[in-house]
């Protein structure tokens, strides 16, 4: 963690922690996923002065909550957009796309004001704001976001109709 000399003084530690939170929270890496929130600082090591700039680098060990979807993981998400190619869902900051090949064959796309996928008997419907349980089959990580491909074509996947969670 690099700190400008103007922050030195009595509040060094607080400033360092504040800057860490500002810089690290919300970032995303391939290995660890999204850093959602820092929960604790384990220790702050000795600072090292950088030649030429006056900046000081401190090694900081910290604990944080991260969000990282795994291939093969099953999770719940909220549908955000439905079109004839499939639908997009969101699990926190992570975007998930479920292609129409990965939606059960008995579900048909219906266009209109509220595009949706419906079974032939109309008992199950996927539309915007539906809650679905899906399985991640692929992930792609950018510098700022994680994008996943999901499927609902498996046992115990699909719309969550448990009224307790609706």
């Amino acid at each position: 963690m690099q700190l400008h000399p103007r922050h030195f003084g009595r509040n060094l530690r607080e400033n360092l922690v504040a800057k860490l939170m500002k810089d690290v929270e919300g970032t995303c890496s391939g290995q660890h996923g999204f850093v959602v929130a820092i929960t604790g600082i384990e220790n702050i090591g000795k600072g090292l002065i950088r030649d030429g700039t006056g900046f000081v680098t401190f090694p900081v060990k910290y604990q944080c909550v991260v969000f990282r979807p795994f291939k093969g993981e099953i999770l719940e998400a909220v549908v955000t957009m439905v079109n004839k190619m499939g639908f997009f869902a969101e699990a926190g900051p992570v975007q998930i796309f479920v292609s129409n090949h990965l939606i059960p064959d008995d579900m048909e796309f219906q266009s209109g004001d509220m595009p949706n996928y419906t079974t032939s008997d109309g008992s199950v419907k996927i539309q915007k704001d539906s809650e679905v349980r899906l399985k991640i089959i692929g992930t792609r990580v950018d510098a700022t976001e994680i994008f996943c491909i999901g499927t609902i074509k498996d046992d115990f996947l699909g719309v969550i109709n448990d009224p307790a969670t609706a």
Binding site: G26, Q31, V36, A37, F70, K71, I74, V78, E90, G92
Partner: protein, 138 residues
């Protein structure tokens, strides 16, 4: 670090870092983030401050999908589940999804079926019953 194509949560291949890390359930994260947001609002002095987007979105998500809302029962769930020699990751998935029967549990957490881990159907059944109890008495 594992290469992307070697990763498979159904066989519990999630990389060393994450196997060792503590996996939290949505309900636990909700409590944690809620606390953190309060803290941030408190620090900035007014309640209208914009929260960072990732934090905001994550909070909304975990709140929407929390099975347990009061702190006591969240704690209890972890206690109950940790009696069954589950990996951290499995514990979190079961706690998040609350499967209703043995088949569902085995389907959402396929690593339970791995041989030699002592999770026969009976044990899973007991686990789910315990979980149901906590939910009932919430």
């Amino acid at each position: 670090m594992l290469r992307a194509d070697e990763e498979d949560a159904s066989e519990l291949k999630i990389g060393d870092d994450f196997l060792k890390a503590k996996c939290l359930m949505n309900s636990e994260v909700a409590i944690l983030l809620e606390h953190r947001c309060d803290q941030m609002k408190h620090m900035s002095g007014d309640s209208t401050t914009q929260l960072p987007q990732v934090l905001e979105k994550s909070l909304q998500y975990v709140k929407r999908f929390s099975r347990f809302t009061n702190q006591g029962s969240v704690k209890q769930v972890r206690e109950v589940l940790s009696r069954y020699q589950l990996a951290e990751f499995e514990l979190a998935v079961i706690g998040n999804l609350c499967p209703e029967n043995v088949d569902e549990a085995k389907s959402v957490v396929p690593s339970l079926k791995t041989k030699g881990r002592g999770h026969d159907d009976e044990a899973i059944e007991r686990l789910l019953n315990d979980l149901l109890m906590v939910k009932k008495f919430e």
